[in-house]
Structure formats: C-alpha cells, structure tokens
C-alpha cells in the first residue's frame, strides 16, 4: 500500500500542496483537477523527483525516499511532457531505459518487441522517433512505463495527443493492467477516468477535496442538476443566475444542462449528475478566472 501522509510542498514561499493524505491500494485512481492544481507536483513526489516540504510518503510502511532504488524499481512513470531521443528508434530508447530500470539486456530484448506490439508500434520498431506523431510518441511513453512490470503505474496526462480510437485502446489497456497494481492516472479530462477509475481524487485549494468512488462523488450534486429548453435570447440572462454545465441547440431552441441549488421549476427536468458536472461545479471559480 502506498500512503501519502500529511504531505505539503512549497516552492520557496509558494505553497502548492498542503496536508495531503491519501492511501492507494491496487486499482485505478483518477487524479482529477484543473491545470495548476498541483497534480504534477504530487506525482513528482510519488516518483521521488520532488521531496515533500512536510510529511512523508510510505510504501508498505517504509519511507519511499529511504527505500531508494528498492522503491523506484516498483514504479512505472509516464511524465506529462514525455521527452525522448529524436535520433533513437523506440527499440534503442527502450533498451536504454531498460538498463536504467535494472532490466537485463536479454530480458529487455524479449520484452520490448512484445510491449511495442501491445501499443501497436510493432511496425515502427526501427523507425527514428523524430518521424513519430504525437500519438506514437505517447504510446512509446506508455510502453516504457510498463517495461519493468511496475507495481505502481503513474501516468501524468497520458492521453494527451492520442486520437479517440487510441484513447479507447488505452483505457482498455489500463483496465487490464490495474488488476494487480496501483494505477494513478492524472488528468483534467473527465472522460479519461470516469469509465475506468475505481476512485477519483480531486484537489482543490492545495488540499484533497474528494477521494471517493464516482458514484459517491456524484451524490454531492444529487437533486441539483437539471436540463431545460429556452429561446436563445433568454440564455444570457439564465447563465447569470445558474451555472451552465453544457448547452446545445435542439429544434431551434437551446437545451441547457445546469445546476440549481434553489429548488426546481416546473419546466426543468432533474437529471443524474455526472463526474463532469461535479468537476465543473467544484472548479467553477477557477474556470471563470481562466476565462477572464
């Protein structure tokens, strides 16, 4: 079990995370928050790239920084900005990373072609990575993260650059992998996690806002999410009063999904809240700030 125990992180005087407490056992965890909320900082601490200013991170009761390579050999990590060597082909690059991960050359020779096939790159095994599309690079990244058959798989924005088909393939891949390991998937795209995550972790104001199942998190907005139709000219006035979650044109009118905490009107249909609704509701101030 991986435990984040009252961890805080500051860069100089700027606090990024405060008193974070989390526990991870086998399964997929979706780390969901807008950009800049501290997801990557938390992930970098889990991968020993950053040291906590306060608190500790334990794996099976042992501090991960004291465990050193005994901890790092258990992790597979795909960073948000996945760097690569342009003049290497994926086979060479994975060979190098295998050496860093302490995998023997022979074992790597057997494993790399299988992994590249797994991420549908078997035809590009000897092709220089400079010629790769963003999606292909990301798939190399996924392959390298699984190279050491990690007990803890940490993926920071892993679907960036993947097309819809690749996203589906990736989600299926993760579901397979999550059976006997901890998978932490950081994203700001709700659809990436809502179908596969056992639990969702949301960070807000430097602290953990939720750590729960999707159903439990969605309960927070029970009886508050509605849909209604109105004329286009009424929309702007309506938006000033209610938080609009989604809008689409239908039969010459506007169909709006929104949140109301005041109680229902007769022409409103109450609907079941989704994770995206909660996300938009919780981070509404941040969204407004970003829009301004």
């Amino acid at each position: 079990m991986l435990t984040v125990n009252n961890v805080s992180k500051k860069y100089g005087n700027d606090s990024v995370l405060e008193d974070i407490h989390l526990e991870f056992s086998n399964g997929v965890y979706g780390l969901l928050a807008p950009n800049g909320a501290g997801k990557t900082t938390l992930i970098k601490m889990l991968t020993t790239l950053l040291y906590p200013t306060k608190g500790e991170i334990l794996y099976d009761g042992q501090n991960i920084f004291s465990m050193g390579e005994n901890y790092r050999k258990l992790i597979g990590y795909l960073p948000q900005a996945f760097g690569y060597y342009k003049n290497y082909n994926p086979y060479q690059y994975l060979q190098y990373l295998a050496a860093l991960k302490g995998i023997s050359k022979q074992a790597a020779n057997e494993k790399i072609p299988k992994l590249l096939k797994h991420v549908a790159l078997e035809d590009a095994i000897k092709k220089k990575m400079r010629k790769f599309s963003g999606g292909m690079i990301q798939r190399v990244g996924i392959a390298q993260a699984m190279l050491n058959d990690p007990k803890i798989l940490i993926l920071d924005e892993p679907t960036a650059g993947l097309d819809p088909k690749e996203r589906v393939r990736f989600r299926n891949l993760l579901s397979d992998l999550a059976r006997d390991r901890i998978v932490i998937l950081s994203t700001h795209i709700v659809s990436d996690v809502e179908s596969i995550a056992n639990q969702i972790i949301m960070i807000k104001d430097k602290q953990v806002l939720f750590k729960d199942t999707i159903q439990a998190i969605c309960q927070k907005l029970n009886s508050k999410v509605y849909e209604t139709e109105m004329e286009f000219e009424q929309v702007s006035k309506f938006r000033e009063r209610y938080l609009s979650l989604s809008e689409r044109q239908e039969n010459g009118r506007m169909r709006i999904r929104f949140i109301s905490e005041e109680g229902a009107s007769s022409n409103w249909n109450q609907v079941s809240p989704t994770l995206e609704d909660v996300f938009l509701f919780e981070y509404r101030d941040l969204t407004l700030e970003q829009e301004q």
Partner: protein
C-alpha cells in the same frame, strides 16, 4: 557498466564532437605539414648523432674535428675545381655571393656541403659549449624576466628567495654534464617550441574545447531533451548523474588519447627524434631564444611523458570544472559559454593585483595559465619561481574541484527536479 557504455556512446556519437575531432586532427596535420621544411635537417642531425653519439666529450670532439677538417678539405677540392676558390669555413662559403650554388654544383655536392655545414655548426658550438653555458646567468635571466613583467616589492622578494635553488640547479646541470649533449638546436630549428608550444598548445586547446562540449553535453543530455523526469525516476535514479560524470571523464580522456596518439605519431614520423629520446631536455642546444632548463634531470622522453601526463591531468581537471558548472546550468550551450567566460576571468585574474603583490604571482598558479604555457612546463622561470609550480597548481585545483564535485553530487541527490 551497461549504463556507462550508453552514456559514453551518447558523447562519442554526437555529430558535433565527431566533426570537431576530425577538424582538429586535420588542423594538427596541417601544422605538421607547414613546418615540415625542417624534417630533412632533423634527419641529418640524427645521422650526425648516430655517427658521434649524443654525449659531448673530448673524444667525440676530436673525432668530429678530424671529420670536419676532412670534409672541409673535400669541399674545397670541389669548389676549387668549380669556382677556383677555397674557404676557411662553410660559413664563408655560403657568404660568398659571387656564384649561385644550385647552378654551380650538383645535387650530391650540395648535400655534402649541407652536411659539412651542419658538422661545422655542431663542432664549433660543441667546442665552445662550456664557455657558452657558463655565459648564462640564471639570476640575470630571472631579473630580466621580472623587469619585463614589472615585478617588484614582496613579489620580487619571493622570487629572489628562490635564487639559491636557481643557482643550485644551474650548477647541477653543469656538474653532471646534462648540457653537454647534441640536440636539434633551438636557435635554428625551434623544435621545442614547435612540439611543446605549437603542437601541444593546439592539442590542449582542442581537447579543452571537446572536453567542455562533451561534459556539458553528457551531463545535461536529459535536461536538454526533457527526458530527466524519466531517467532520474528510474531504478538507477540520481546515481545516473555519477554515471554521466564517469562517462564524460572516460570520453574526454579517450578523445585526448586519440588526438595525442594520432597527432604525435604523425609528428614523430615526420620529425625524427630517433637518436635524441634519451638526451637531457636541458641540453645546451635546447636553449634558444627562450631559456629551457628543466628543474629536474629529464631526458627528452621523460619530459615528453611528463608533459603528456600533465595534459591528461589538466583535461581531467577541466572535466571537473565543467561538471560543477553543468550541475547548476541545465543547458549544454550555456555551460560552454559560461566556461569560456570563467576561463577568461581566470586568465586575467592577475590584472586585479598589483605586480608587487605575492597574489600577482599566485595568480599564475591556475590550470588556465598551465594550459597556455605548455612549452615551459617543468622549466626554471622567475614568474613560476618554484620547481613544484605544476604540482602545486594541479594538486590545489584538484582538491578544490574534487570537493566541489562531491558537493554537487550530494546536492543533486537531494535536489528537486521540477
């Protein structure tokens, strides 16, 4: 070991490093080529040394004298027939402008004249060797050097305190006859300057450029490519920094070896030193416009070996310096330019101190001054005043930068990689 090889491979296969190595080797060949006009003379000097031995003594002088006189008589026979003239010396023959030598004499005769002329030069200089050597005064030379650099006050006193050592070594060279050996004459062929200034300085500067580039390139490879998050979170972790340090060290030493071995092999195959490997470097004939008397009794081979070892130590030292810079500057090109600035600052540090200050003298105890003055390594000089100038400089800077590298390794282990 596998990781180390991967890191070395990155350095060695870099197109910039490969291209520069080829360009530098080409430049060294060019230097050898433009100076190759002396190679035939060096062959003749080797022949001379082979005939008479390199040690100058009465027996050798007697043999040289009789051969010289016989050769001169033969020259006069030829000239008498050709131009109806005889000469007291070869010097007088070459000073005669009444005929044009290449048109008047055959190629074979000209070669004989040249050999006799060489014999004359070495015979007379060897004959007057003792008085020529005794005309040197190490204190006068030191005072002259101090005057040129405007050294006065405590700095001058510090140098003068070493005069006993200067004189002691001068007398030692006299007593053990180190100076009494044949060697390519510095005053004519400038071979010491060609090898230890022109060639060595080029080799050192070239290796220095490659050292800084390779070290910065290897140490910052992951930061330049954005792969550091992956590599330093792998099982190997921050120890990869040390692997990179060792890889840079091995790559730099290898590149220096390639440049040295290739360039010096070509050099010695063009300029023959066959008979002179064991001649003391403090031979009188090696004293030219500069005063080349080593602090120790070193043969040419010993001196060359010592210079090569010092070159390796300097390259290792510059690797350490670059590693320290690369720890804090995470862009290889920026590291290179910062190093150039640092090199310049160290070079001009003496300008900060008055020339009467001891700090002015100590300001030359730097690897930068060493690398720029390879031709006077281990030689007696007022400015460097001690026989241990090279050892003190290298040792002091090694201690400083080894500690700095240890500190960097430790700080990198504990730093945040954002």
């Amino acid at each position: 070991m596998r990781i180390l090889l991967y890191e070395i491979r990155k350095a060695i296969l870099s197109p910039v490093i490969l291209a520069l190595t080829v360009i530098f080797l080409g430049f060294n060949f060019f230097l050898i080529y433009v100076n190759s006009n002396i190679k035939d003379d060096l062959l003749s000097i080797n022949q001379l040394a082979h005939t008479y031995g390199t040690e100058i003594n009465d027996e050798m002088l007697q043999e040289m004298k009789s051969n010289y006189e016989a050769s001169l008589a033969q020259v006069n026979d030829i000239t008498k027939k050709a131009v109806s003239k005889t000469y007291e010396s070869m010097d007088a023959f070459y000073s005669d402008r009444s005929f044009y030598v290449p048109e008047t004499f055959s190629e074979e005769e000209i070669q004989f004249f040249n050999y006799t002329s060489l014999l004359e030069f070495y015979y007379f200089n060897s004959f007057h060797l003792e008085e020529s050597y005794l005309s040197f005064d190490p204190i006068k030379i030191a005072e002259y050097e101090m005057k040129i650099y405007g050294i006065s006050g405590p700095a001058a006193e510090l140098i003068r305190n070493q005069y006993d050592n200067f004189v002691e070594r001068f007398n030692e060279v006299k007593d053990n006859n180190e100076y009494k050996h044949l060697f390519p004459a510095q005053s004519i062929w400038d071979t010491h300057v060609l090898l230890f200034k022109t060639m060595f300085k080029s080799l050192l500067i070239e290796s220095l450029i490659l050292t800084v580039l390779i070290t910065a390139y290897v140490m910052n490879f992951e930061f330049d490519r954005g792969t550091y998050l992956l590599t330093y979170s792998s099982k190997r972790g921050r120890r990869l920094w040390l692997d990179k340090f060792y890889a840079a060290l091995i790559a730099n030493v290898s590149i220096l070896s390639i440049l040295m071995v290739v360039s010096l092999t070509v050099y010695f195959s063009v300029f023959s030193y066959k008979e002179f490997w064991h001649v003391p470097i403090s031979s009188y004939f090696n004293a030219g416009k500069e005063w080349f008397m080593s602090w120790w009794n070193l043969s040419f081979f010993d001196y060359l070996a010592a210079a090569v070892i010092l070159a390796y130590l300097l390259i290792i030292l510059f690797t350490l310096m670059t590693v320290v810079l690369a720890r804090w500057i995470r862009n290889s090109y920026l590291v290179f330019f910062t190093f150039l600035c640092l090199f310049g600052v160290i070079f001009i540090n003496q300008a900060v101190f008055p020339s009467s200050s001891i700090l002015f003298l100590l300001g030359s105890f730097t690897p930068v001054h060493l690398i720029l003055n390879s031709f006077v390594w281990f030689m007696q000089r007022a400015l460097t005043f001690t026989a241990y100038y090279e050892s003190i400089t290298v040792l002091a800077w090694f201690v400083i930068f080894l500690l700095a590298v240890l500190y960097c390794a430790n700080s990198f282990r504990k730093c945040d990689l954002k």
